[in-house]
Symmetry: C2
Subunit: 321 residues, 2 copies
């Protein structure tokens, strides 16, 4: 029971690094002794210090005999940028390590756990693994599929439209939903829009939230032709997202053509839906045909993870099955 | 506090008459003495007996000194089909009457309350009035607007489609949502479909639920031309729903053309949305353009009343503001 509670704290800390640690995973760590937190850490912008190093630095001598809750197996490889976290945990005298996930990075992949066990530290793995996989989806997708984890964001009316036939799209959703969408931007390494959306809106794709203005993700334009605007990167084809080094989480923000291209390639891992309580009738649909031949192909693809109201708009998160 | 609890019971009983009492309102009544229910009634199929008469018959002598909770002002007019409920309540020796709504029917409209008060019965009105208005929306809309209360039912994908471009539409939603839609049919006096849906599906519009097979509503075909199929009624124009005697609640079930016509005329009072967790991309949109010139016209029309999951589909009820 308590283990899950502390791991939830570590997962919460891990969120702080989201969108700032690629190509490193955004890890969270909490050190607990006698039922109290003695150190907290999360992967710092750019990837260093690691979560464990930060938590141990905060705990100091209090780390001795503590339990470390980490969302990912502590690393076992020494790098020019810092020592291996498993060595740091041994040196600090930690008594027990509870990890959510084994690190699939071939440089670690079990050797972190082995080093801890050799030093007499009790090791457990797998607690809240599903949550941790979601937390580090960018890192894990890059390792497993050699491409970023892709989130498709759609802001629609009840009848699935993203603009009136006049092109008017500001605004479908209300201020709370739009603020939430800005927060989601801050959690991604990159944001992509298609050429039509770029030309129609020239979107800034910045993060208009107090204290998060510096968290604007990299801006990616999907366009086979045309110049690359200043402060933007351009890719000609969706397959090129593989080559976006340092972008492990990508949010596709618009428009229907880009959304459709990613769905057709089955490259959408997660859906964010913001749905306003309005009917539009005509206008631009959120998604165009992406190659379904039968309804049976449409079912059982998406699993609901979250659903709530943001003002009068419904926000839902789906994950690809 | 207790008054609201008993009125909620009366409103629950009122639901039993839905779809079977037009042109009479579906009223609920509960008689309470010393904190216990001594009689329960609801408007019977065809409109008689009234809820109060049924509850008083059940209570017998126990009605003396009781409080009657009724969702509508007891009627004051004697009809060949039965005595006035306000007279029955007086004769039974009821001590107090709590009503949710005054009856706007000009034959009553306060005279029921007056008759009770003249007999020394304490009368209160207005408790849970909003709920009662929803419960008797058919009766009240017929009186106020001289047409049935119209519910538009839509079963869509997340992107607002009701069929693939191949026409395949069975099924978008799952079995729990479809069973719920059958229950909603039983609560309506009539169901309407347009010509396209009729020709494509020849829908039965029956109620395929155990014990409710006899609750099939009247079937209305919206079609300017063509023969009227057996067991169907046909209207040429949506304005003709005014002339459907005995239909005070109408559910529009399909397809996009019919939905669009009712929305264009601003004749949709309530929306039932069943939304499956699937994306379809191409295919038939649920609603076509119905004349919005700007997004501002789309906002603040619909108020969310209910939202829940039916299996993996989201069910939502909206009411026209």
């Amino acid at each position: 029971m308590n283990d899950a509670r502390w791991m939830a704290v570590a997962l919460g800390l891990a969120e702080r690094g989201k969108g700032r640690t690629a190509p490193n995973p955004n890890v969270g760590c909490v050190l607990v002794r006698d039922g109290r937190i003695v150190g907290r850490g999360w992967t710092q912008p750019g990837g260093r210090p690691h979560a464990e190093a930060m938590a141990l630095a905060e705990a100091g001598e209090a780390a001795r005999g503590a339990t470390a809750y980490v969302t990912l197996e502590p690393c076992a490889h020494v790098s020019p940028r810092g020592p291996a976290c498993s060595d740091l945990l041994v040196a600090a005298g930690v008594a027990r390590v509870v990890a959510a996930l084994r690190d699939p990075d071939p440089r670690t992949d079990g050797t972190g756990f082995a080093r801890l066990e050799e030093a007499g530290i009790a090791v457990e793995s797998g607690l809240m693994a599903a949550e941790a996989r979601r937390s580090m989806a960018g890192f894990l997708t890059r390792l497993a599929k050699r491409r970023p984890h892709v989130t498709l964001k759609l802001a629609t009316s009840l009848d699935g439209r993203i603009a009136l036939s006049t092109g008017e799209s500001k605004w479908i959703t209300g201020p709370q939903a739009r603020a939430h969408a800005h927060l989601e931007r801050a959690r991604h390494d990159g944001i992509l829009v298609g050429r039509g959306t770029f030309l129609a809106d020239v979107p800034k794709l910045d993060v208009r939230l107090p204290g998060l203005a510096d968290r604007a993700p990299r801006r990616i334009l999907l366009s086979a032709t045309g110049p690359t605007p200043p402060d933007w990167e351009r890719i000609a084809d969706i397959a090129d997202i593989r080559h976006l080094a340092g972008i492990d989480t990508l949010m596709v923000e618009g428009g229907a053509k880009a959304a459709t291209a990613f769905l057709r390639a089955d490259m959408v891992d997660r859906l964010l839906l913001y749905r306003a309580p309005i009917l539009l009738g005509g206008g631009k649909p959120a998604v165009e045909a992406f190659g379904l031949a039968a309804l049976s192909e449409a079912h059982d693809r998406w699993r609901l993870l979250d659903s709530r109201l943001l003002g009068s708009d419904r926000f839902e998160v789906y994950e690809r099955n």
